[in-house]
């Protein structure tokens, strides 16, 4: 299993770069992932999405459907892609420390 070291913290990640353990999530993780997900500057809007994803995951044990994310945050899907260029599944969930959403072939 690959590990990542960043600012004194160690993270275990899978091959797509998702955290292995949700409990490992810290603010340093967000900072670390930011660049590879094509995000220049973190805004309150990013945090709103991340916070909602984490809340939902803690309550339900899975990531929410895109439609629910859109509804609760009030961000249109297009705007979510502007915030997280690699999309809500890959970019936003990764930053929020959620496990990789299951296969969507």
């Amino acid at each position: 299993m690959a590990t990542v070291e960043y600012k004194g913290k160690t993270f275990e990640v899978d091959e797509d770069g998702f955290l292995q353990k949700f409990e490992d999530w810290t603010l340093e993780w967000v900072d670390y992932v930011k660049d590879s997900e094509g995000i220049k500057e973190l805004t309150p809007e990013h945090n709103k999405v991340i916070e909602f994803l984490q809340d939902y995951y803690k309550k339900n044990g899975i990531a929410p459907m895109v439609r629910i994310l859109s509804k609760v945050t009030g961000f249109k899907l297009k705007h979510i892609y502007e915030l997280f260029p690699s999309g809500p599944g890959k970019g936003a969930c990764k930053m929020a420390g959620l496990p990789k959403p299951t296969g969507c072939v």
Partner: protein, 437 residues
């Protein structure tokens, strides 16, 4: 010398059909020889390792691909499917083996130059292996690594003017038959409708927001060359309203043997003289045809557009002049529920630019399904769960006899009080006093 011994796979080459094993071996040898001096960007022995991992899977009777994988390109949520091998040390060439889907041209018309262009990109940045075409109808490029994805995306869009296809819970790459470009049976311009809707629904295609996949397919006539009725959530099938056109002189010419039945498609052996009664009239599923020795008659009101007479005698019998399409909803392969075919929703729609009438149906369905659909539920399953009546309600379509599977033997459809002129009164309590549950 092959990198891995593959005795089990080799058996697959002994059958009478072309073998994918031979194809992969050919590509493996070609990559090893590299006659064009390609600067391969992913491991050269990717195809060899693919054979190796498949041989191991056959031996173990278990797949060695991991479940899932999330990779993609910036701005899109679909189009690339992540694939990783769970034996990367044994098969480093396929440690990453991501699939890239590309939108195929309408009707699958290619030029040799275009195909060479795609293959130049794919030989350089991928395994060189393709699946032309996937079941959805798109170009499937099999096997590349994560760092190549953005490069491939740039190259196909900038050099080939080709976009990624669909994957995940989004609109999948729409597909059509070749339609009026080559086929006299086509009742509308499938290519134009397919291309227009692909362009109009780019957001739905690239940014997954649906409960699950959603497929459009466009068949020009009920022959169904893209099998839309069986394979697409939203099936558009060409049809006609007016009478089938019959040229009686040419019918006689078929009977006399001047025209070959079925366009000469049974040329392999001698099937004897063409017998119009046996081969056409008696084959009509609704029995709406007759031939009195001189004249062929069709009771058009009873025709179900099976196409058999038209296919057998295309020079004499033609589709009606007033053409359009039927829209059917809900076909799917078995996952949550069994396989099902599409159900007729709109019996006849005129297919004309800018296709607003069709788009209205689509968008009403999407609004409803996105609101009500459960995660991983196809629209056909939502329709079954919440009833066909509900679907009619959300699409503002009135119930009609064509919606009933067998209107003559099963005429039941539920009507609400406000839908019936004069309404009706129903006292449930009083009714239950007379009828036990």
């Amino acid at each position: 010398m092959a990198k891995h011994q593959t005795p089990l796979l080799d058996q697959l080459e002994t059958g009478p059909w072309p073998s994918f094993v031979s194809d992969i071996k050919q590509e493996a040898a070609h990559r090893a020889a590299n006659p064009d001096g390609v600067d391969y960007q992913i491991p050269v022995d990717c195809p060899s390792d693919l054979l190796g991992v498949l041989e191991l899977s056959f031996k173990d009777k278990e797949t060695h691909w991991k479940h899932g994988g999330i990779v993609g390109v910036f701005g899109y949520g679909g189009g690339v499917i992540g694939r990783y091998c769970d034996q990367p040390e044994m098969f480093p060439g396929v440690a990453h083996f991501h699939t890239v889907r590309l939108a195929q041209p309408s009707g699958k018309y290619y030029t040799a130059d275009y195909l060479r262009g795609i293959m130049d990109i794919w030989d350089l940045r991928g395994s060189g292996l393709t699946n032309m075409h996937g079941s959805t109808g798109d170009i499937v490029l099999l096997g590349t690594t994560t760092p190549q994805l953005e490069e491939i995306f740039f190259d196909v869009t900038h050099k080939m003017n080709t976009d990624l296809g669909g994957s995940g819970g989004n609109l999948r790459t729409p597909a059509d038959c070749l339609g009026q470009s080559r086929c006299e049976f086509a009742c509308y311009d499938t290519q134009d409708l397919c291309h227009t809707l692909t362009n109009d629904y780019q957001d739905e295609l690239h940014r997954p927001a649906f409960p699950y996949k959603f497929k459009f397919k466009f068949d020009g006539c009920p022959n169904g060359c893209v099998a839309s009725i069986a394979r697409s959530d939203f099936s558009v099938i060409g049809t006609w309203k007016s009478d089938i056109r019959i040229d009686q002189d040419r019918v006689k010419a078929y009977v006399a043997g001047e025209f070959k039945p079925g366009g000469g498609s049974h040329a392999g052996r001698d099937w004897g003289k063409f017998d119009i009664v046996k081969e056409v009239v008696d084959r009509c599923p609704t029995g709406c045809m007759s031939y009195d020795g001189a004249k062929l008659s069709i009771d058009n009101a009873n025709c179900t557009r099976c196409m058999h007479c038209i296919n057998t005698m295309p020079a004499a019998v033609k589709i009606g002049e007033e053409t359009g399409a039927s829209i059917l909803l809900g076909a799917k392969a078995p996952i949550l529920d069994g396989a099902q075919m599409s159900s007729l929703l709109v019996p006849f729609v005129v297919v004309e630019k800018p296709y607003d009438e069709i788009k209205e149906v689509i968008e009403n369905i999407w609004d409803w399904w996105m609101e009500e659909g459960k995660n991983r539920e196809r629209v056909g399953e939502t329709m079954k769960r919440l009833s066909f009546q509900k679907l009619l309600e959300v699409t503002n379509i009135k119930a009609m006899p064509q919606h009933v599977k067998e209107p003559r033997s099963n005429p039941y459809i539920f009507f609400k009080e406000e839908e019936v002129p004069g309404g009706f009164e129903h006292d449930e309590a009083a009714y239950r006093q007379r009828h036990m549950r």
